[in-house]
Amino acid sequence: MKRVWAIVWKDIMTELRTKELFSSMFTLALLIIVIFNFAFDFSSELIPVAAPAILWVAFTFAGVLGLSRSFALEKEGNSILGLLLSPMDRSLIFLGKMISNAVFVFVVELIMIPLFVLFFNYDLGNGFFPLLFVIFLGTFGFVSVGTLFSAMALSTKLREVLLPILMLPVIIPVIVSSIKLTAAVLSGNPISQAGAALQVVVSFDIIFFVVCAVVFEYVLDE
């Protein structure tokens, strides 16, 4: 487990120095929200319906950007070799990368929430902590899949372009269910109301975390 934290720490330290991942993800998420603001004419009935969807679209696309960059950095510095040489189970490498990716995406999301409240004049009410929980669940799901696929995509001819194509169809259930859950949470209902959505997200998280961890070793290369 110490080795896993070593990987996480390495990524965080690299990021703290360059801040390149964070700045690009944050900018993209912000721009998406701004564009949606111009796309719709926001009446007060439309906002509660559209808001969760806009939020998750912003998170997903920013997340895809960050995920593809994260592994690209590894490849450029040739640190994949270092990772492969270390005497640990490949699934632990997956766990380490996944945690660091999740941390980056989660930080961006946390900063987006108050901005979102600001731009859409939204009242979170009591929903802040349930919202955090929902965002955590959803992010966990798509980051697992994304970590696996980004490792895969970078060794192909198409490189980073392949990642969105690979990831987006697979994570549709998580995004859809997270949107449903977010809508439920933001409208003040207890989470149990959107019980089916919660089941989908949790089962997706568990199944794909395990499958991606197991399959990861076939995908790490060079």
Partner: protein
């Protein structure tokens, strides 16, 4: 081989005959319902081929044997073809019956995602570069895509609520002739699938053979 060709010929002719002539015209929908037999045939073949992709992908990762890779590739290509046919026949059926070419119902949404997933499977194969990488990455994606499908279905049901069953009239009182037509179509299409699969696998094996011969020439 000739036997298989003969069987396929009989099967497909039988399918067309039973669908168009043997089966009675359906009371509610009229003649358009006949496309349903072909539609079920293509759906069945698509499902079969994607299940084969899943199993071959797992087996390939376990054994690293080229056979499983060829099987996965061939099955995926044929599967994409048949799922395209499914979507097309379904749309043709839907327009007169439902009044719309398409609707975001759970089954249809899942089929659409299925289609995209397996096209992406083929994209992965073509963009992977070296042969072993191609096979491994495709196998990984094949496994994940297949496991994703039930969850996609569950989440699609979330968004649209419980929608009316697609083939509503089938439950009670399907005429025995229709049942026969359906079965003949299923069998006919399955035979066609087996033929196409064998041919496609044969092509890959020939390609491997050519590469091997070329290497021997050089050596």
């Amino acid at each position: 081989m000739k036997l298989l060709l003969g069987l396929v010929f009989v099967g497909i002719v039988g399918s067309i005959y039973t669908a168009f002539i043997y089966a009675p015209t359906e009371a509610v929908m009229g003649p358009i319902q006949r496309i349903f037999y072909f539609h079920m045939g293509t759906v069945w073949v698509a499902t079969l081929s994607f299940t084969i992709v899943f199993i071959s992908s797992i087996q390939y990762l376990r054994t690293e044997s080229r056979f499983w890779d060829i099987l996965a590739l061939s099955s995926a290509e044929i599967g994409v073809l048949f799922i395209t046919l499914t979507v097309v026949t379904g749309s043709i059926w839907a327009k007169p019956v439902w009044g719309t070419w398409w609707t975001w119902e759970p089954q249809l949404t899942t089929t659409f995602i299925l289609w995209i997933l397996y096209i992406v499977y083929l994209v992965v194969r073509s963009s992977a570069g070296s042969d072993t990488k191609k096979a491994r990455y495709a196998a990984v994606f094949g496994i994940i895509a297949f496991l994703d499908l039930p969850i996609v279905y569950a989440s699609a049901r979330l968004m649209r609520g419980i929608s009316p069953v697609v083939f509503g009239g089938k439950g009670g009182g399907i005429a025995p002739e229709m049942m026969v037509a359906l079965l003949v179509n299923l069998v006919g299409f399955t035979l066609l699938f087996i033929l196409l699969l064998r041919e496609r696998m044969g092509i890959e094996k020939m390609r491997d053979e050519i590469s091997r011969i070329k290497l021997e020439e050089v050596a």
